[in-house]
Subunit: 293 residues, 2 copies
């Protein structure tokens, strides 16, 4: 079925505006589909799916999440770029380290968070496009993560007195998050972007992909919190307790990361915000058995 141009052009803002607070829920709609005599939503031509969902809360949450996400990146930038001494590459390994927190926050938190939101934000877009944007954002996130890892390993190995790698709990759990992210990336790519993979496998893997997507995200934020703790204690030592600017900013970065994470997980797991299938997808539906709707 061919979709209209107007449908493609529906923007995120329209979802919130067009869905009224008192509209029936998805479940109510599915039990009692609107009849010809019932009220006809205004946006029938633009959005045949989302008229059934109350997405005002989602829209507000999405914009708040973007604000918090940008704030996370800005705080991480200010923390590493100013308070921890700024940036350099291999010429000054101690400053090369500073790419690690900034790029992890950009990749594993901000871009990753937006990547897992894609299906719920661009809900009128075709699934093929959504998959490509989801994979594209994750690819970008992955590049930042790899450079962030290169920065921290270089900063350890190239130091005048080399620092051992992979001994702290932060490094164990951080690497676990990155390894799981890589596995998830490969499995997701093979399962959903390669033609010829069976519908049975795609349906079986979907809930695993969704649940571990959220697990890796939360684990990544947890690793950031441990990393901030480590860096503040290693660099400030007993001065941490006097809460100098570096400590205040690092702590605030941690708090904002947690707020961003709580909001993203809320937006991505609330069943009421789930994207509904487009008409042309309905015959192709998988039968997901998702642990998080």
């Amino acid at each position: 079925m061919q979709r209209t141009t107007s449908n493609k052009m529906v923007t995120l803002l329209s979802y919130g505006k067009l869905a009224s607070k008192g509209s029936p829920t998805v479940e109510e709609e599915s039990k009692a589909p609107p009849t010809a005599s019932g009220p006809v939503p205004l946006n029938t031509m633009d959005s045949h799916v989302n008229q059934q969902q109350d997405l005002q809360v989602f829209t507000v949450g999405f914009f708040l999440a973007q604000l918090l996400g940008v704030l996370c990146v800005a705080l991480a930038g200010a923390w590493s770029g100013h308070y921890l001494g700024g940036f350099a590459w291999q010429s000054v390994p101690s400053l090369q380290f500073n790419y690690h927190p900034l790029f992890m926050v950009i990749g594993l938190v901000f871009l990753y968070g937006d990547a897992i939101l894609v299906y719920r934000v661009m809900r009128n877009e075709r699934k093929k496009i959504l998959k490509l944007i989801h994979a594209g954002l994750h690819t970008l996130a992955f590049i930042f993560v790899v450079v962030a890892l290169k920065a921290v390993f270089d900063s350890h190995n190239l130091a005048a007195n080399p620092i051992p790698n992979m001994y702290s709990l932060h490094s164990w759990l951080g690497l676990a998050a990155v390894v799981l992210f890589s596995l998830q990336f490969v499995c997701g790519f093979v399962s959903y972007l390669f033609p010829g993979v069976s519908q049975y496998w795609r349906a079986w893997y979907l809930p695993v992909h969704v649940y571990f997507g959220v697990v890796i995200y939360v684990l990544g934020i947890g690793a950031c919190l441990m990393g901030i703790t480590e860096k503040l204690i290693f660099s400030l030592k007993s001065d941490y307790k006097d809460l100098p600017g570096t400590a205040v900013l690092g702590n605030i970065l941690g708090v904002v990361l947690v707020c961003f994470g709580i909001l993203i997980v809320y937006l991505v797991t609330t069943p009421q915000f789930k994207r509904q299938s487009l008409p042309e997808e309905e015959n192709l539906q998988l039968t997901p058995h998702s642990p998080i709707n």
Copy 2:
């Protein structure tokens, strides 16, 4: 409606055994209820609800979670009781501290984790009983958390050189978890154990209670991970990188805490494991709008 004694006596193990792998899902059952001519499950007399659900995975997950939970407590006990020097109360503030990690792991992780699982584990029990067990386990968890806080504040305040309180990211986020836990405790108690509270309020608050229940739990585990990181760096300093026994055990404790958390959240959020209403509850059902099914 009076329930039979045999129904009350159904044990957890029976759920897994009685539910067959190939049985229809809850959704399928609700669409096509079994007719008189259809196959009659063996456990009709014992469990009129759970026969519809495949709970083998849940049962295995539950027992694995108990193993991991006990392992968390054992590792925290060995870490604080042996590697960090053992226990004392106010006479030796530095050892009084050691109650902090142990009691937080017992309260905020193990007991809290089991408390949020109650509805899915004791699924044939009446809702009133489940609420009391849920509240009872949380009360026990809360007592451990309060003693754990007393231990850390005392260990700071009573030290020969008093240590400031509440400066680290661990303390900020840990206290946030405890404050949210307290609020959740009071709101849950008033909403669901006080008679006379309106069904509308109970239904409105349920998804908030459920979502923040999981958020507080994950935040609590995150605070534990930061706490382990802090304690290892403060106590071992540059020896952390040589991974002595204290460091290995602390790191392993962190990894097991994460595994326990991932499993508990899986068991408590997977829609397929959700407790179904008992017949006598069906007329009293709230209309939950839960962000996590």
